[in-house]
Symmetry: C2
Subunit: 248 residues, 2 copies
Amino acid sequence: MTGTVEADNHPFVRKVASVALFDLSEPERKALAGLPMHVARYEAHQDVVVEHDRPNRCFAVLSGLAATYKTTRDGRRQVVAYHVPGDVPDFQSLHLEVLDFSISAVTDLRIGFVAHDALRAMFDAHPRLGDVFWRTTLIEGALSREWMLNNGRRESYPRMAHLFCELMVRMEVVGLATGHSCPLALTQYELADALGISSVHVNRILKELRERGLITLSGGRLTIHDWTALARAGEFDPTYLHLKETDS
Amino acid sequence: MTGTVEADNHPFVRKVASVALFDLSEPERKALAGLPMHVARYEAHQDVVVEHDRPNRCFAVLSGLAATYKTTRDGRRQVVAYHVPGDVPDFQSLHLEVLDFSISAVTDLRIGFVAHDALRAMFDAHPRLGDVFWRTTLIEGALSREWMLNNGRRESYPRMAHLFCELMVRMEVVGLATGHSCPLALTQYELADALGISSVHVNRILKELRERGLITLSGGRLTIHDWTALARAGEFDPTYLHLKETDS
DNA sequence: CGACTAGTTGAACGACGTCAACCGTTGTGG
DNA sequence: CCACAACGGTTGACGTCGTTCAACTAGTCG
């Protein structure tokens, strides 16, 4: 293996390459792969950062699933984003001092911390990389908007269908899905918090999706048996994910 | 009047100065004020940009109120953000080719278009300004998250209270509110689309807020009679707006 | 084997939606 | 200058989607 191949397997290089609209230069690859990264592990349900924190570092998800969430005063929880490997969920801490959300491990999680200073130095030296990271934060914004539409204007059946479509596509993009099946260890409570409904209702909708032969979600695994029907039910159009054209 | 004062009244200079964590240098002010801007007017309910557009320019709201929205296939509409003067609602078009949302004029609107090329040139010459605009897009992301919590986990009464609190604070920041009263020409239909409820229900909640003496919304004007009670009802905590410390 | 957690299901309730009628204001054209 | 259409707001009656409460099951861990 050459150094180049090694760098290409680095999570940052993979992620940035998948988002950038240009080919990364060799110095850019080196800068990304050379970022000093501190790897840490979290168990499911642990918080990585919490609201009001003032981090001096960002982190990338290396493996597992993370969730950004907020809570009301009386403890009701709303998941506002899920993060698959490669994502940098608290990137905004680079420019906004105090966090307005918390991020927790949904499953066992491996993450890599990178100091703000190191990132800033890299962006100074390689401005195009800054633009790519900017692009990633804008894509996250696009996901937020789609979630708002989904949670605000679709009933729970299509709403859940839409969420499963999104998660499957994103898992496919990072190579974690095979044949419309991917690891997804979400409890029904967590699903409820993402969809803005109750866990009891999640259970009923899940049952309906299962009985109609669209999906199964069990054993920490989501399998979509009828992609076409699920996408139709959820009115799923992946444009908002802003993927670069690959296959479908 | 000196050239400096003139520049300080320029919408971009005002906006950037209000968001930046540092003092703008004179060259930076000049660059902002010197951006070639094409002013245009839109009547209420006209679209400025629509989903799937591929703009080669951004625009700033100069006066009036704009709304970013998305629709489901059957035409149900969800407003995902409001934009007050100074905001640059489609900034993401600088980095994402195709729009995943539409933006319409809520009231009569005056906007200023700025070509992407001009912005890119400015960011190359003044990297700190790029960081400030990045910061603004991250703040918009914070608003999205708060909206998701609000729409997903609060019932319609506190939900509407929260929205009015947010809008009032934002109007105050740009100097359009006096004594908890500001122009706000939203119809009940539009309010419904922002809150994810029906217009009939908006009417009822509005009546309740009015009868409890918290607000009045009429004649294109929102007046908050009891800020404390409204903020309490909406569990409003302005942290997520990421304002720089001024008054309260 | 007991304790705990996640899932499942029924029944009653409630928040909100839908439908429909009606009112008030505005603006336009005969 | 009035008629009337168009639109936004208001209200009641009723339907429904989703919640809440509660009981029960199944799997897992010590």
